[in-house]
């Protein structure tokens, strides 16, 4: 038995390493100052897909990402680690999409992919932390879902068995395929790049980022061409895309400035610290 698996991946700004120049003077985010990375939990998702590929030979793992052409970088990264191919879904019409409009566009792309057994994605992306796109896609496709997955144990008899993390424990569920699985950060980390795959896919590109020389190469070696789809390719209804298709609107954004308290400052000095501890004991803050 072989499976067709789609892995949802997102290129995100590395919000975990926000430096001092990450905010512009006007309080907006300086995206240029943040390195773009493969969303961490999407890597956990990719690992689950690659494990299934090992368990069920002939399984095909296709990466799907929505973003500008430079998001092809996450597809290449996935190819280096063992994925088979990928698609970048890119269109100006998708700009300003909230989670719902994003899930609409991605579900339209999934419908174009033919037979799919499983969609696996990270639980959430670190730039938004919403965890909404996976379940919203499942609903749009009319498929069941398993969220907070830690391990996909097997696929057999038309069902997938998944161990998932819930509050204070774990749950193992059996869910019919096709379905959507979102993977938690506590799942196994993704394997590193494979040297052979890196060699093979080093020049992989979407057509729009290829110069003349690269275009000739893509023609000679078709496996290097990363799919590049737009709203028309996936028959998307533009009313449901981007800003127009987003029920949520951002009313305002503030760069939070804390109202500074007058803190009492102490040095790393024995006498000062002992005095301070005595004070805290005396006023019953501790002890």
């Amino acid at each position: 038995m072989s499976l067709n698996i789609i892995v949802l991946a997102k290129q995100v700004p590395d919000t975990r390493n926000v430096g001092k120049d990450a905010m512009k003077a006007d309080g907006t985010v300086n995206r240029a100052a943040l390195p773009a990375i493969f969303n961490p939990e999407d890597l956990n998702a990719l690992e689950q897909a690659l494990r299934l590929k090992e368990m069920y030979p002939g399984t095909k793992v296709t990466l799907l990402t929505m973003g500008p052409a430079r998001a092809a970088e996450v597809i290449r990264e996935g190819l280096y680690r063992g994925a088979d191919n990928g698609v970048v879904l890119s269109d100006r019409a998708f700009a300003g999409a909230d989670t719902l409009a994003t899930s609409y566009a991605l579900s339209a792309a999934v419908r174009k992919m033919g037979h799919v057994d499983l969609i696996i994605g990270g639980r959430q992306a670190i730039d938004g932390d919403t965890a909404q796109v996976g379940p919203q896609i499942a609903e749009k496709l009319g498929w069941p879902q398993v969220t907070y997955a830690e391990e996909i144990e097997k696929v057999a008899d038309g069902r997938v068995v998944v161990k998932r993390r819930i509050e204070g424990g774990v749950e193992t569920v059996s869910c019919p395929v096709p379905c959507v699985v979102t993977v938690n950060g506590s799942a196994a980390p993704c394997r590193p790049r494979n040297a052979k795959a890196l060699q093979k896919y080093k020049y992989a590109a979407v057509p729009s980022e290829a110069d003349e020389a690269r275009k000739a190469l893509l023609e000679a070696r078709p496996w290097l061409e990363i799919g590049e789809w737009n709203a028309a390719t996936v028959d998307a209804d533009l009313e449901q895309c981007g800003l127009a298709g987003s029920p949520t609107k951002v009313k305002g954004i503030v760069n939070v400035v804390f109202t500074a308290k007058e803190a009492r400052r102490l040095d790393n000095d024995d006498a000062q610290i002992e005095e301070f501890v005595k004070e805290l004991i005396a006023n019953h803050t501790i002890g």
Partner: protein, 342 residues
Amino acid sequence: MADKNNLIVYLEFEDGKVADVSLELLTKGRELADKLGIKLEAVVAGDNLKDVEKQVFPYGVDTLYKVEDKRLYPYTSLPHSSLLINLFKELEPRIAFMGATSIGRDLGPRVSSALHSGLTADCTQLEIGDYTDPKTGKEYKDLLYQIRPAFGGNIVATIVNPDHRPQMATVREGVMKREERDPNHTGTVVNLKAEDYIKDEDYVVEILDRHVEKSKVNLKGSPIIVAGGYGVGSKENFDLLQQLADTLGAEVGASRAAVDAGWVDHDRQIGQTGVTVRPKLYIACGISGQIQHIAGMQDSGIIISINSDPDAPINKIADYVITGKMEEVVPKLIKYYKKNSK
């Protein structure tokens, strides 16, 4: 059921108890419903729902919808989604809240996707206010402001859903205060038939095995918290924090960066994507103070910041700042506490 356009809260129910997060949402829901002059409703689905009304009526619930069916417990996605989707079509609620738990964050997106209504995850504040569409100039009265940190907690965004209903939001446990409205308040119980809302085909996911233990970590209830951030630097240095916590009778907490680094378990994470705490004393060690963390501890009584960077952002909200390496300062705190306490 002619009663439409109210505020509804989805209740989580486990071990005969309505979850804390649901009661917190009812408290906030009652406040906002009063402001809007609408009713507060609640819906619960599961098995053995006998006493739910007794637990929620004191929070000011006007109508409680109960859907009892053995197959609705434990929670699975499709039956609960179908219930809410169909019930919301009928009730057309103006606002709907659910906990930002593994249940609410599984359920909310499906419901919003089916109803094409906006959903904002992990809100830290919910308010009522007006909105003018910057493009069309159209004015909207009394929308729900869904306020949450975004972008890794570096900004705070106010989100509105101008044209679609319900306006949906999830909130983490501990973020909102929980307060009974009136111990003698009673509302109406409406028993709904599961089969009127849920198809048999929705029960497709089978739970093979389930282990749930009450968490041993009690951050929310601890009067003193010793928390460590990325500046702690290693797992070994976290042992120092544990020693300080043991000395003071405190719990150890952590920032997301320290959890991501693998030095502490996720159930100790404090902040927007972890637990929100309000202890009497919060000792922040090597925590720089990203807003995502501050959102989860800023209401602490007294905040002590121990940091080698005198300009760490957290120092701005601290009452006491000790500038120095935490691995030097913490042993001194332990030493002088032991010396001076009786």
